[in-house]
Amino acid sequence: MIADVPLLRRGRAALGLAQGVGSFLLTLGITLFGLVVVTFVIGRVVPIDPVLAVVGDRASGAVYERARTEMGLDRPLVEQFGLYLKKAVTGDFGRSVLTTNPVIDDIRSYFPATIELATLGTLIGTLIGVPLGVFAAVRSGSLLDQIVRIVGLVGYSVPIFWLGLMALLLFYAKLDWVAGPGRLDIAYDYMVTPVTGLLLVDSLLQGQVDVFWNAVSHIILPAALLGYFSLAYISRMTRALLLNELQQEYVVTARIKGLSEARVIWRHALRNAAVPLLTVVVLSYATLLEGSVLTETVFAWPGIGSYITNSLQNADLNAVLGGTLVVGAAFVTLNLISDLLYRLLDPRTR
C-alpha cells in the first residue's frame, strides 16, 4: 500500500495538470469567441455602410444589391456571424482599403516590429525592476524603498505619449544621443531582407553590423520608455511578493541556520516568489503589446499599433477590426498563459 503512494501522487498531479490545461483551453476558446463577437458587433453598429465603401456612392441600385448579396449582408445576422467567425478563424479579415493588401498580410509585416519593441521593453523592465523590488523589500522603509515607490507612482501617473514626446525632445533634438522616430535611418532602409521580421536579429544574422547599430539607436528610446512602465509595475509587485515571503517562518529558519543574508533572500525567498513573479512578467508583456499603440504613434514605429491608429483615422474598418482581433488574441492568450503557468508551476494550486 505504502509503495503506491508516490505513484498515486504522480497520477493525481498528472490529472491536475490535464485539468489545468483543459480549463485553460476552454477559457481561451470562450474568451477568443467573445472577442470575435465583440468585433463583429462593432463592425455592425458602425455608421459606415460597408457596401457603399466598396461600390462607391455613384453605383446603380442593381450593382449595390449585387455587392450586398456577395458580401452576405442580405442574410440573417446569425448566418452573417457564422461567416465572419469562419473567416476570422482562417485569418481572413478582408482587404484594407488604405493599403489594398489583405489585412492579414499587413498584420504579418507590422506585428514583428511591435514584438521587437515590447520584448526589449519587458527585458529592460524585468532586469531592472526585479532587483529594485528586491532591494526595496529588504530595506523596507528606507530611502531606496521610498525612491522605488515614487518611481512606480510616477509610472502609474504619467501619460506615456507625453513622456515619449519629452524624451524625444531631450535625447534626440537637444542632446542628439539617439536616433529619431522610425525603425531605421532612410539610408539603411531595405538593406536587410526580413527573415524573422525582428530587425535586430535579422541584421545580425546577415552580418550587417552598421544596420544593427542604427536599429539599436532607433529602438533604445521607445524600448526604454516601455521598459520604464514595465519596471514601475514589476518592481512594485516584486516588492510586495518578497515582503510576503520574508515574513514566512522558513526565512527565520534559514537565518537561524546561519545562512548569509544574500543567500536567504536570493536563494530562498526570491525562489518562492518566482512563480507569481513570472506571471507578473508575462502580464506586463501583454500590457506592453497593447500599450505600444501610443508609443508607436509617438515614435512613428511601424508596428501594429501604428497600423491600427492609421487605419482608424482613415475609416479603414477591416484593418481596425483585424488588428484589434490579433492584438486582442495575443493579449488574451498571454493573459491566460500567465494563469496557466501559475497553476502548473506552483504545486500548492494543484
Partner: protein, 304 residues
C-alpha cells in the same frame, strides 16, 4: 474651541444615539486615519484643486479658451506676463485652455464612474447572491471582458461609434466595469449567508430589496476605493484617445488633444505640448495618492 471638542466627542462616542451619529462617527474615524497619511492628504489637495479650478474656470481664466488671439503677433509665444503659460498655434492662451480642460477631465472621471460602477455592482452582487448558473454565466462574461486589452478595445469602440468625448467616455466605461463586478461578487459571497440577511428574508424582504438595501451598501466602500485607484487610468486612457484624435475634437481644450496639437511644434515651442502633459500627470498622481490612502484608511486588510 469648546464647540469643536464637544463635536469631536459627539463623533467619537462609544454609544451613538442615532444611526446618523454612528455613520458620521465612522466616517470621522476613517477621515482621521486618512489625515494621518501625508501623501493621501497631498492627493486629496490635488483632487480638491481640480474640482475648484473646474468650478471657477471662468473666473480664473485670463482669456477665452476657444477664441483665437491676434494670429500675427500672438502665436506660439513663450510663457510671459500676459500669457502665463504661453500661447498655442492659434494664439490661444494655454493657461486658460488648461483651466477649462479640467472640466473635461473631471467630467470624464465622473461619468465613467457613474456608468461603470453600477454595472459592476449589479453584475457582481447578482452573481454572488444568486450563485449557480447565473453566477457562472455572468462571471464568464466578466472574465472575457477582463481579459480584453482595454485601450485597443476602446479604440475599436470609438472607431465604430465615431470620435468624440461622449463616445470615448462610453468606450472607457464599457471596458472599466469588470474589476468592480469581481470585487462586488467577492464581497457578496462573504455576507450573503449572514444572519441579518436571513432575518430580512424571513421578514419577507424580496431579493431585490436585499440586494439594493443590504448588500450593495456593504460593497460600496471597497468598490469606491477601487474606482478611485482606477481614476488615474481612466484619465490617462481618455487623454490617450484625445492624443490619437479619437477623443475630444479640436478646438475643445481637452488636455490629450492639446498635446497632440502641440506635438507639431515640439522642437521649437516645446511648452505647447509640455504644459498639458504636466497637468495630466499631476491630476493622475493626485488620484493615485488619494486612492492609496483611501485603501489604507477604509480597508486595513488590503494595506501592505
Amino acid at each position: 474651541m469648546a464647540g469643536a471638542s464637544s463635536l469631536a466627542a459627539w463623533l467619537t462616542t462609544a454609544e451613538p444615539q442615532s444611526r446618523t451619529q454612528a455613520r458620521l462617527g465612522h466616517a470621522w474615524q476613517s477621515f482621521r486615519r486618512l489625515a494621518r497619511n501625508p501623501t493621501a492628504i497631498a492627493g486629496l489637495a490635488i483632487v480638491a484643486l481640480l474640482i475648484f479650478v473646474a468650478i471657477f474656470a471662468p473666473l480664473l481664466a485670463t482669456h477665452s479658451p476657444i477664441a483665437s488671439g491676434d494670429l500675427r503677433t500672438e502665436r506660439l509665444l513663450p510663457p510671459g506676463p500676459v500669457f502665463w503659460l504661453g500661447t498655442d498655434d492659434q494664439a490661444r492662451d494655454i493657461y486658460s485652455r488648461l483651466l477649462y480642460g479640467s472640466r473635461l477631465t473631471l467630467a470624464v472621471v465622473i461619468l465613467v464612474s457613474v456608468i461603470a460602477t453600477p454595472i459592476g455592482l449589479a453584475i457582481g452582487t447578482i452573481s454572488g447572491y444568486f450563485g449557480g448558473w447565473i453566477d457562472r454565466v455572468l462571471m464568464r462574461i466578466t472574465d472575457i471582458f477582463l481579459a480584453f486589452p482595454r485601450l485597443v478595445l476602446a479604440l475599436a469602440f470609438v472607431a465604430a461609434l465615431g470620435p468624440g468625448i461622449e463616445n470615448a467616455i462610453i468606450a472607457i466605461a464599457i471596458t472599466a466595469w469588470p474589476p468592480y463586478a469581481r470585487l462586488a461578487r467577492a464581497e457578496t459571497l462573504t455576507i450573503r449567508n449572514s444572519d441579518f440577511i436571513h432575518a430580512v428574508r424571513l421578514q419577507g424582504g424580496s431579493s431585490l430589496r436585499i440586494l439594493v438595501k443590504h448588500i450593495v451598501p456593504l460593497c460600496l466602500s471597497s468598490v469606491t476605493v477601487r474606482v478611485t485607484l482606477d481614476m488615474a487610468g481612466i484619465i490617462l486612457t481618455a487623454a490617450g484617445l484625445g492624443f490619437l484624435g479619437l477623443g475630444a475634437q479640436p478646438p475643445t481644450p481637452e488636455w490629450g488633444t492639446m498635446i497632440a496639437q502641440g506635438r507639431r511644434f515640439l522642437m521649437d515651442q516645446w511648452w505647447v505640448a509640455a504644459v498639458p502633459g504636466i497637468a495630466i500627470f499631476v491630476v493622475s498622481l493626485g488620484f493615485n495618492l488619494l486612492g492609496d490612502g483611501l485603501r489604507d484608511a477604509l480597508d486595513p486588510k488590503a494595506a501592505r
